[in-house]
Point group: D2
């Protein structure tokens, strides 16, 4: 008699970049590894903050874990809330070099790919669940033009090309940790515990939500 293997959630974080000693996305992801949430086991992968290697590492992790849900997490230094990204755009425009020293400007993520992909996470429901839990959360209309956006675009492209029923996926940005802003006065941060609880809440909510809420989450500009 065969046992059905437990389904999985893939959670990725990045290594440190841009002069910081740590990356809160990876510290939080590490803490969640192996947890069982809504009947799914959390599998994790660290992605390099590097344009050439990150999408490959992501696709390898997807092949290995065959997840039902993929959440890629990245650091958004300066933001004050856990932000659920709405859209990935087909452009790379690096203001700083990546961890391999590459700094492409106005290059596509995927030559000939569509201009953008939308997240398939129920982002409004995720925001509502975090706010109900007292955790700062918001919808973001841009994931930037660096490795985070590239990985987000590569993720959505990979998922879009899989046969139905396709896994859902999306990108979540998290703030700096308090220790990272000690020398950056006025810059928001968030305790690691809060980030971890927020991501756990997001995973559970994503697994349990079929249809997203239709609540306003846009910006006038």
């Amino acid at each position: 008699m065969q046992r059905t293997p437990i389904r999985t959630v893939l959670l990725t974080g990045f290594d440190a970049f841009g002069g910081d000693a740590v990356n809160p996305s990876w510290l939080a992801v590490e803490r969640l590894r192996g947890e069982i949430l809504a009947g799914h086991r959390v599998e994790t992968a660290q992605l390099p903050t590097a344009f050439e290697r990150a999408p490959q590492a992501l696709r390898a992790a997807i092949r290995r874990h065959r997840p039902a849900l993929v959440l890629c997490i990245g650091q958004a230094g300066g933001r004050s809330a856990i932000s659920f990204e709405r859209v990935a755009i087909n452009v790379i425009d690096a203001r700083i070099p990546d961890n391999d020293g590459a700094q492409p400007v106005d290059a596509p993520v995927a030559k000939g790919g569509p201009a953008a992909y939308f997240s398939t996470l129920p982002i409004k429901s995720l925001r509502a669940a975090l706010l109900a839990a007292g955790i700062p959360a918001e919808i973001s209309q841009t994931a930037g033009t660096f490795v985070c956006n590239q990985v987000f675009y590569a993720l959505m492209r990979a998922l879009a090309r899989m046969p139905a029923p396709r896994p859902r996926g999306g990108f979540v940005h998290v703030p700096f940790l308090p220790e990272q802003v000690d020398t950056r006065p006025g810059t928001p941060s968030m305790p690691l515990d809060t980030i971890v609880v927020g991501l756990r809440t997001a995973i559970g909510t994503a697994l349990r939500t079929k249809r997203d809420l239709r609540t306003a989450g846009g910006e006038t500009h």
Copy 2:
């Protein structure tokens, strides 16, 4: 003997919305009407801040003026620089009602349209030209999800469907005026004169620039 008619630039601004008495985008556009820049005459149109009527008004103005270049201008309250938008996305998510009282949430701008369109303005060159003139300027990775983004998307879609050689076009956000922030402490603003000079510089540069600069203008998130 026939005279070749002068070529035109179409400049649009919006009416006031969201409780403000004025919209700096329209005040600036009005000041530039009739000017001759790089051999083109500036034609203008005011668009209503209303989802149903704005794209129609824009398309009517394009048919009337047959411009070589279209710049749609909007107010981005809270930003501190003239910002050249990079990308329009196929979503409407209104946090406040428009001037007709409509407030769509998570609706497409164009059903079945592509997820996004990129600006065809040389946005890096425009930023460089303004900075060289001492005027605060930046690239923006999101035009929001309100009427500005909708008009930007509608513009790029209309231009993309025209026969070659297609007019170039894009969207520019401008800050509040100083008088608008008197009751909003800490909110950036920009003198109207500076906005006008900035837009004039942008139009002239767009008309004279064939190939955009490849200088970094992205964000890490």
Copy 3:
């Protein structure tokens, strides 16, 4: 045989103001009432957000509880960290009416009083203790010119006029709660639990610290 009564810490918070339904300063203070920290029992008082009544309520609470330490807590909507105020200034300049409808402009807190009082809390040590606990914390150089600054000034003046050994005291600002910023996109907030742990850490540290750390906590402007 007489029992020495336990020493006390006085913690004050404000009622809601400016259109908000709650004030996180009071919600946090309520949660700490009755706790024993470093051998002191936490006593609490709610102050009205009203220029005429707040200083009286504060002085009455001091007379009643004879505290060894006084921390007045207030809401600083828009800030992202728990901030330890450095200085109270002798001016009231109200941008909005208080809860009694009063809106004084450029009036002194205390006619003939000194221009300012400095906090007697070990503010650098408090910040260090919170950061060590992973909680966003900062030094603030201004408590504003509304009821918070007025109460801070009134507190320091009352303490300065008491016979030695004088209780120590100061003012702490806390961010909005996540639920308060749902309609204020982009505005930082902090979970109530984090605020409570932060204040508890601050009280314990203040009671145990004799000499403040000499670490930089200033601003260039």
Copy 4:
């Protein structure tokens, strides 16, 4: 027959600091040197961004020019408006070293001096005059704890000790120039021309205004 010597205004700016190549305060001050405003000639002095030398240089300039009005101007990188400072506090707390390498922490500006001095400029009138001219302007409740605040405190202390009728004086912070924020995305800036017009407007208004306006200009925190 003897000619009454023309009265003077003393305008000071700082040299560059903190890694910037220029200091907009000095560039603006230089442009105004020698102008006649409301019957007064503008005299200027550059102050070093250095705790030990700046107050001396200021006091020497006051002795030399015997001004009727003194405006010290400094750079407030990150602010978006010309800001009229309300209060100077008796503390130095340097987050970065000054131009001589000194970095005092929690030292007084003047041992035994009062905790603070208020500006004697009609700051509400100055703000109103700039806004009427379409120039971003605000009241600031803190000049920081670096050399700007120190010079402001030293200025007010020097003026307070002069025999009546005392010259009026105060401190004005100006934003970065656009060229300074090219590598600081999202940071506000202001064209040099706008700063110059703003300071000229401020000087003329200060010389013509006897009694300040009583309009709200405070902050809730």
